[in-house]
Symmetry: C2
Subunit: 326 residues, 2 copies
DNA sequence: CTGAAAGCGCTTACAG
DNA sequence: CTGAAAGCGCTTACAG
């Protein structure tokens, strides 16, 4: 075409304005580029400039609507800044998380947004030491210094439990995952403290579910509740998946929800609309969680080296929704 | 370290076995590579070998669990072949789809798996002409020659409508999206033919919902049904999102589902478990759809040029589930 | 059997 | 004001 690749690059990246390339040539280059559907090779570009304009997102379960929605918002926000997102999935396996970090690293992502898995501490520590921009979202490790975007799990759980107490419940159970992850521990603590305040805490009311065996564990827990000596009149379900199966089991046992047993859930489910009763739930600000994660990450990528010591723990509040309209 | 980058490359890619590099040196290279956490730069590698080992996946709505699950299976299968998946989202916008294709193209993906949007024909045609490996999944364009992985929508819809007839329904409505997309047209056709066979088709029974205005459209449609002269006793909901809102509206109107009006849905929802009635639904083989898409794509990538003319229309059957246990 | 060199497609510092 | 050249980090064909 008669011009060097360098000139083309100059024109297409908009740097021709600095009096570099003549107007007529610029125009011609832009025209032919469009007509031949030319798109620069992003790989070569990234290799040269040392940035890939890509964010690596690692979630624990992409088929879970909560993480699906989170991914959606993360992508939308990243796009605003001209970043592409590569989503990877771990299925709650820390080994898989380690593998995914390596794959993303070799693809030279500019930063990571991660929903870490249980026992994933060592992989995260390693990543922190490699000094790459990183934001943990939804979950975090209290003894690793990272940027985190989470909700106030303690508060949310405390409020949920209080509301059951306020509604007259005497014997309130907690359904949670058996997990060392901090968000679970805090949900348990919020529940515990609310009950302990009024001397109503009892170890017997705690049900720890195995993620790998969720349906059976919940079924047997509900069975146990039904046959307990103390009449259970309240349950707090601490995740959306636990809620759905939990409610199903209660219905299976013919229990009248909100009459015999009052419940509060974490996250809303479409299913709630099908019931002729209102189910209170903790609403997580998922859009804000996604957007904030991206903003924090881009900030790190952009100002990298300026003030590396400034880590942010962004704790968003989750609201207890007791009466839903629509 | 005393050895050239070339030698390192040879060793790490396992090509040292061909009598190229000595055992001791190989060992030492592998050791130091591990100890310093060395990971090859995938960008540079891809640039050199002309393949990125990456698949671009474009879905219409990642927050919809159906596409979330589909993405999950696509990723799992791709991983088996050593491919990474970049997921992009279009929100049912064809403009966005065009943009996403360009972004993925510039990132040099080796092939595309796409759930296309309405009016996205031109972008897909362009992609086909560029001769890049491509598989359309869930939806396709009958006048564009591509590899497709879909379900037998006509059959599924015909069977669903037949089952309502068999259960004694006289006046059966169809709830579908107002869309030019072939899968919708076929679902409509299956419904139409089943009814026409027994002279029960009536234009009045057709409800076309706007995706952008889904809640209001369904609400007004249900309202209309309730006040129709002919007593409606059956409804076929042709997507999961339509089903969920549709059922909610029926309940709002105090209609006893499966007594006053029998329904059949497309796809299962968690919500079904909450109802004290069984809701029949068309079960799409989502895992198989995902895996097959990847297999077909990898096949194209691998045998590219050999037999380009062989296009595959992979039509999987969907099963009508009338009685669910579990 | 091994090392040096070329080249993938870009961007940018530099020489003319 | 413009063109040629270097270099990002790999892989592989080639010379020694």
């Amino acid at each position: 075409m008669g011009v060097s690749t360098a000139t083309v690059s100059l024109v297409l990246s908009g740097k021709a304005a600095e009096g570099r390339v003549g107007k007529e040539i610029s125009e011609k280059i832009r025209e032919t580029a469009k007509s031949m559907n030319y798109l620069p090779n992003g790989l070569a570009r990234s290799l040269r400039i040392g940035r890939s304009q890509t964010i690596g997102l690692i979630v624990a379960d992409i088929s879970n609507p909560f993480f699906g929605t989170l991914s959606l918002y993360i992508q939308e926000e990243a796009e605003k800044f001209g970043y592409t997102v590569i989503i990877a999935n771990t299925n709650e396996s820390s080994t898989k998380m380690g593998e995914m970090i390596d794959i993303l690293k070799s693809r030279q992502v500019d930063g990571y947004i991660i929903v870490p898995t249980e026992d994933g501490d060592s992989y995260i520590t390693q990543l922190v030491e490699s000094n790459k921009p990183l934001v943990l979202v939804d979950r975090y490790f209290p003894n690793i210094q990272t940027n985190n975007v989470i909700i106030d799990n303690y508060r949310a759980s405390y409020d949920a439990t209080r509301s059951l107490l306020n509604n007259g419940c005497k014997h309130i159970c907690l359904f949670m995952y058996k997990s060392k992850l901090q968000h679970m521990i805090e949900r348990k603590k919020g529940y515990h403290d609310a009950l302990a305040e009024v001397n109503r805490f009892d170890e017997e009311f705690l049900f720890e579910i195995n993620y790998a065996n969720i349906a059976e564990d919940i079924a047997s827990s509900v069975k146990k509740i039904v046959s307990m000596k103390k009449t259970i009149d309240g349950i707090f379900f601490t995740t959306n998946s636990i809620s759905i199966i939990g409610i199903k089991e209660l219905l299976n046992h013919g229990i009248e929800i909100q009459k015999q047993i009052q419940i509060v859930c974490f996250d809303k489910s479409d299913a709630f609309d099908f019931m002729n009763i209102t189910i209170p739930y903790v609403r997580q600000p998922v859009a804000k969680m996604g957007r904030t994660s991206v903003d924090l990450l881009i900030d790190q990528i952009t100002n990298h080296g300026d003030n590396e010591a400034d880590l942010i723990m962004c704790k968003l509040s989750a609201k207890l929704i007791e009466y839903q309209d629509n």
